[in-house]
Symmetry: C2
Subunit: 435 residues, 2 copies
């Protein structure tokens, strides 16, 4: 049950009290007068659901509000802030809150990327609001940006550095010449990477965010299962050095674009490491920072930059959603509903055109480059640039950057190159973005 | 008279049909289905007020909608888009629209910075909404950012490059060694600067935007008359070269900060050229681009970057406001009202602490540096760094960067330096930001 807050009090329930949740509690207590002045509502924290009420908490967390009964807590709040993470029990609790008409504010990207349509349907059914600024890029208001501030434009592409862990690792590799393994170990030591780094380094966290951003940008349902992912494990210090020598950096990007395949408008959504020109705004995003570039038909190129994780920055995003929610409870109006009217088809990588860099080792003798170039030509893939480095042992390294081509054509090219007698090895294939 | 749009049609009136207005017309016509899907309303353009209906227009502007009677047009619209600019007749028309309950979307920074409180009061009286995303930094959604997306944080500073003309000029001076005069002439030739460049190069345009940003960030009324301004006319190519040699760039900044003077919390708002470290995110903002850095207690440093002017980018901001306005007309809710609850006092430059760079020419003989340093010490201004360059004629150039000090103390220091027998000339005093 949820009442509309006609008495000017909005009851807030917090689910989860980890790093972010604890900061939310602190901010609710420290700046209560500000939230009231800005929303017109007095925000009353009515309970904090945790797994174990006996666990030690930050000193500002009121013990009397702790409960292990999240299901009961949800029934007595106007706004439910879900910071448990993961699918269950978060999903059940959020669905229950929305169906009963309570506003939900969540930072749960995994839940949204896997079950977004179900959550939005529950919000619709309960005439409830769903906010999720904290789910993508921490404090950076890119969900607001796409959902509201850019509602008057046609977005053509979204490119984001949306995972701070991998950006930190790649940055350390680029600036200090570290191997992936050493940089990862260092990130783990500093607390930037988890003991099991899979979700970050294999790109799954970024893929969830890519799905959310693409859904908002293109008014089309995109689930995490629609997003092909390549992580950063195979990037070497040598790749980094070579990228720098050619005026590039390598970043793990979430990329969502409008595409046209065989005359059909659609979208392509991916996560992969990519070469970016050093002058691209995303190339200057260092350490654990996040940034999202939005390209729109009228606005041109916009960038949103800031801290993508951490207790206080993420709590800032949560609180902004809570203030907006409270304001709507008091003054009327609601959050934008799920917008899926465009229903654009997803174009898979095979039919999506992109530029790529292919690194080969091949015999250093006359005619081999011509043979390689011939393969590209026969598969209809134009070559943008070629750089060759000779070694003493009769083997040359060659770096080819293609023009825009479908990935299917590129895959065929690479497969045929691997069969060429003069080609010793296809070392790597990397996407090139932002040119 | 304005009706709430219960039939799902929202009547839009456009005042002014220049570069931006014409693009608004085009976007309303080209993407009407998108705006309907996103707002739930059919946007019907009911008229375009212009000074002279006989003037030639872009081919997509429907001649039958043109009228010279703006006052009459305003009475038959749900949403009035004001793109006339300047104070009158814009002020009278906007007030009339708001008082009658119509939503106003405006890009008029001069009007807002000079008469903001009056406009907001009219909106309150008419239970009407006032939107002005296009008034600051073109397509960059920084008004949304401050007014809504960051409502859950305490903003401590806003630093912006909000005038593309001056940024273009300074950039050309920095990268190509041009003088101010040559760079200005070039900007005029390319259409980036007006024939009368005063509003841009003397900082008045930036000051209007600074007032708007500070009002939003600090929930306090700030008018353009509260903003001390220094323009860029006195910046030389030599200043630029020296800034680069010391790892800085010179940018014209709008700066609004929370300050504490004699134990009282307040704010300081200014526009002036400033030295920025080359690694600061604003240092990489080139050409006619704009960017706004927001520093907040929880979120840390955020940056919004994009095109700050131009027909299509500014029209993108206008259309987003129109879509939001239409959505509220159909679904209920309204734009955030003016928020001035904090009522922080404005601290003038004299009491505001900042770092500065002072350039002097002085006699190159033993003891002069000690005398100069002595003046700083006696006025309580600490010195952060000193760089000295010797010339052959017995005169040395010296560049001193101060620690944080009040401007009053710095002014006294500079006045006394000018009186020192060994000091030939105080060449320049420049603020240092972003350190």
């Amino acid at each position: 049950m949820s009442t509309s807050a006609t008495d000017g009090v909005v009851r807030v329930a917090l689910l989860g009290c980890g790093t972010v949740g604890s900061q939310v509690v602190r901010l609710l207590r420290e700046h209560g007068d500000d939230w009231t002045a800005r929303s017109g509502a007095k925000l009353e924290l009515v309970g904090i659901a945790v797994r174990d009420t006996a666990t030690e908490r930050d000193p500002w967390v009121p013990r009397e509000l702790l409960t292990e009964d999240a299901e009961e807590l949800v029934t007595r709040a106007d706004v439910v802030v879900e910071l448990i993470g993961g699918i269950e029990p978060a999903r059940t609790l959020v669905l229950r809150a929305l169906t009963s008409g309570a506003t939900v504010v969540t930072g749960n990207k995994a839940l949204l990327a896997a079950h977004g349509p179900e959550l939005h349907a529950a919000a619709e059914a309960g005439d409830a609001d769903l906010y999720y600024e904290a789910a993508v890029a921490g404090a950076i208001p890119v969900v607001y940006g796409l959902r509201e501030s850019l509602a008057g434009d046609k977005i053509t592409a979204v490119l984001g550095i949306v995972n701070g862990t991998t950006n930190y690792i790649l940055d350390e590799m680029a600036t200090r010449g570290l191997s992936f393994e050493t940089a990862l170990a260092q990130a783990q030591e500093l607390g930037y990477a988890e003991a099991d780094p899979t979700a970050d380094v294999d790109g799954h966290d970024a893929a969830a965010k890519a799905a959310i951003l693409a859904s908002l940008a293109f008014h089309t349902r995109v689930s995490i299962e629609d997003v092909p992912v390549t992580g950063i494990r195979s990037i070497t210090a040598e790749d980094m050095a070579e990228a720098r020598d050619s005026g590039h950096v390598i970043k793990l990007l979430a990329v969502a674009r409008r595409t046209v395949t065989d005359g059909t408008e659609g979208i392509s959504v991916r996560v992969h490491p990519a070469l970016l020109p050093a002058a691209h705004p995303l190339a200057a995003v260092h350490g654990a920072f996040n940034a999202v570039v939005v390209e729109a038909e009228s606005a041109g190129r916009l960038m949103f930059y800031g801290q993508g994780a951490g207790g206080a920055p993420t709590a800032s995003a949560v609180l902004s959603d809570v203030v907006a929610a409270a304001s709507h409870k008091v003054h009327g109006g609601h959050a934008p509903r799920e917008s899926t009217y465009a229903e654009l088809p997803l174009h898979g990588p095979a039919t999506t055109a992109a530029r790529s860099q292919i690194k080969l080792r091949l015999a250093d003798r006359p005619g081999t480059l011509a043979a390689v170039a011939g393969v590209f030509g026969e598969e209809g893939v134009s070559i943008d640039s070629v750089r060759q480095q000779r070694a003493d042992d009769g083997v040359a390294s060659i770096t080819i950057v293609s023009d825009v081509a479908t990935e299917a054509a590129l895959d065929r090219t690479v497969a045929r190159l691997a069969e060429e007698p003069s080609v010793h090895e296809v070392i790597s294939v990397t996407r090139v973005e932002g040119a």
